[in-house]
Subunit: 229 residues, 2 copies
C-alpha cells in the first residue's frame, strides 16, 4: 500500500484527515511538540494514532522566536470571539510559519520512507484566519517541493493533500462520524486544563461545528465524566 | 538599519553571503546543528558570526529520517568526483528537504524580529546538484511564504535572498576577498577531521575555486600550521 505522512495535532480536523488518508494510504503520523501551551494535545495525538493502528513519531522542536499567544504564556489568548469574524484577520495565536516548518519536516520524512503524500488537516472555512491554512499557500508550497526536492525533480513529487480545506466544521464532523473517527479522543482547546475552556477560538469553532452537525461532542461528555470521577 | 536573518553553515559560501548582507542589513545569524557528521562546522559558523560582530542563534534539530551520507555515518561519502560532473545528478549527500527546513525556521525567526529578508549562500553553479539550491526552488519558496505568512499577506513578505547563486566558486572567493571575509575561519569539508580530507565534493569545489581565483586557501595553511603545532 502507498505510504503517506499525516500531520497529527490531537484535534478533530487532523484526526478526521487521518481516517480519510487511511482509506487509500498506509499512514505514518508525525506529531510536533513545538513548545505549545500544553502537552495535552501531543498526548491526545498519540492516542489517536494508536487507535488508528498507525505508527507515529513525535518531533520535539524549538521555534526561534516566541511572539504569539500559543508559545508565549505571557501573551493572552483571545477569548469569546464571534466565529463568523474569525477568518477575517490574523489573531494573536498565529505562530509564525508553523505549518511551513511542520510541512518541511513532513516532506523530509516522506522522502526518507518513500511516502507519496503528506496529509494535513488544514481548513480555510471555519478557522482562525491563519495564512498557512489557505489553498493558495498549499498550491505554492507544493510547487516549492516540486522544484526543491529530489523526488520533485525526478517527477515523483510528494504532494501535500488537504482533504478538508474547503469543508465547514459541521461537514468535517459528519464525514468523521461516517468514518468512525474517535472524537472522544480529540482535544481542540488551546489551553491544557482538565476540561476545554469553551472560550478560545478552537473551543468555539468546535462547539459550533458539533451543534450544526446535530451531534453531541463525545469529548465534552467524557471530560464531564472524568470530572465527576 | 533593516534586519535580515543569515543562514550560516561554517563554509565559505555562507560566510561570503554574510559579508554581502552586512552591507545593507543588520544580520542575525542562524546556525543549524541538525545531526550532520561533525560539530566542527557549527563551531566555525559561530566563530564567523563573532568575527562579523553579529548575534547568532544555534538551533538544534533532529531530522525525521537519516538516509543520506551527511547524517548517516554508515553511508559512505562520495570521493574524488570530477567537479564538472557534480551538478549533473543528486549525490548521496543530499539531505531531504534540508534547505526547506532551514528556510522555514529562518522565515519564522524573521517574522518574530521584523526582519525583511533571509540570506542563504546557495549556489547553483559550482555545487553538488542539490535541488534546494536552484533558482527555481527559491522563486517557488518565496511565493509560498508570500501566501503563507502574516507578513506575506500584509504585503510585507520576507524575501529569501540568494546573492551568490549564479556565481562560480572563484567569483565568490574574489567577492569575498574584496569584502575581507575571514576565509581562514571557514570549514567546507564534509568530514570533521583535523584538516580537510581534500576528496569530498565540498573540498574539491573549494580547492578548485581558490585555484581559479589565483589565491591560496588561508584555511589550508592554517590547518598545516595547527598540525605543525
Amino acid at each position: 500500500m502507498k505510504r503517506a505522512i499525516v500531520l497529527l495535532s490531537g484535534g478533530l480536523d487532523s484526526a478526521t484527515t487521518l481516517w480519510i488518508a487511511k482509506k487509500h494510504y498506509k499512514p505514518l503520523c508525525l506529531i510536533f511538540d513545538y513548545g505549545q501551551r500544553h502537552k495535552k494535545e501531543v498526548n491526545h495525538a498519540k492516542k489517536i494514532a494508536a487507535e488508528a493502528k498507525c505508527v507515529y513519531k513525535v518531533m520535539k522542536i524549538g521555534l526561534p522566536g516566541k511572539t504569539d499567544s500559543l508559545t508565549n504564556l505571557s501573551k493572552p489568548l483571545p477569548v469569546n470571539r464571534l466565529t463568523k469574524n474569525m477568518g477575517k484577520s490574523i489573531p494573536a495565536t498565529y505562530v509564525p510559519a508553523r505549518n511551513i516548518i511542520f510541512l518541511s519536516f513532513a516532506v523530509s520524512y516522506a522522502e526518507t520512507v518513500n511516502a507519496e503524500a503528506v496529509f494535513i488537516g488544514a481548513n480555510a472555512v471555519d478557522f482562525s484566519g491563519y495564512p498557512d491554512c489557505t489553498p493558495g499557500f498549499f498550491r505554492a508550497f507544493n510547487r516549492a517541493i516540486e522544484k526543491g526536492t529530489k523526488s520533485g525533480v525526478n517527477s515523483k513529487s510528494i504532494i501535500i493533500k488537504t482533504p478538508i480545506i474547503n469543508k465547514t466544521k459541521a461537514e468535517i464532523i459528519r464525514i468523521g462520524r461516517k468514518l468512525k473517527v474517535p472524537y472522544e479522543l480529540t482535544w481542540s482547546c488551546y489551553r491544557g486544563g482538565v476540561k476545554p475552556c469553551g472560550k478560545c477560538d478552537s473551543c468555539l469553532l468546535r462547539a459550533e461545528g458539533f451543534k450544526k452537525a446535530g451531534m453531541k461532542d463525545p469529548a465534552a461528555s467524557r471530560s464531564q465524566r472524568t470530572e465527576r470521577g
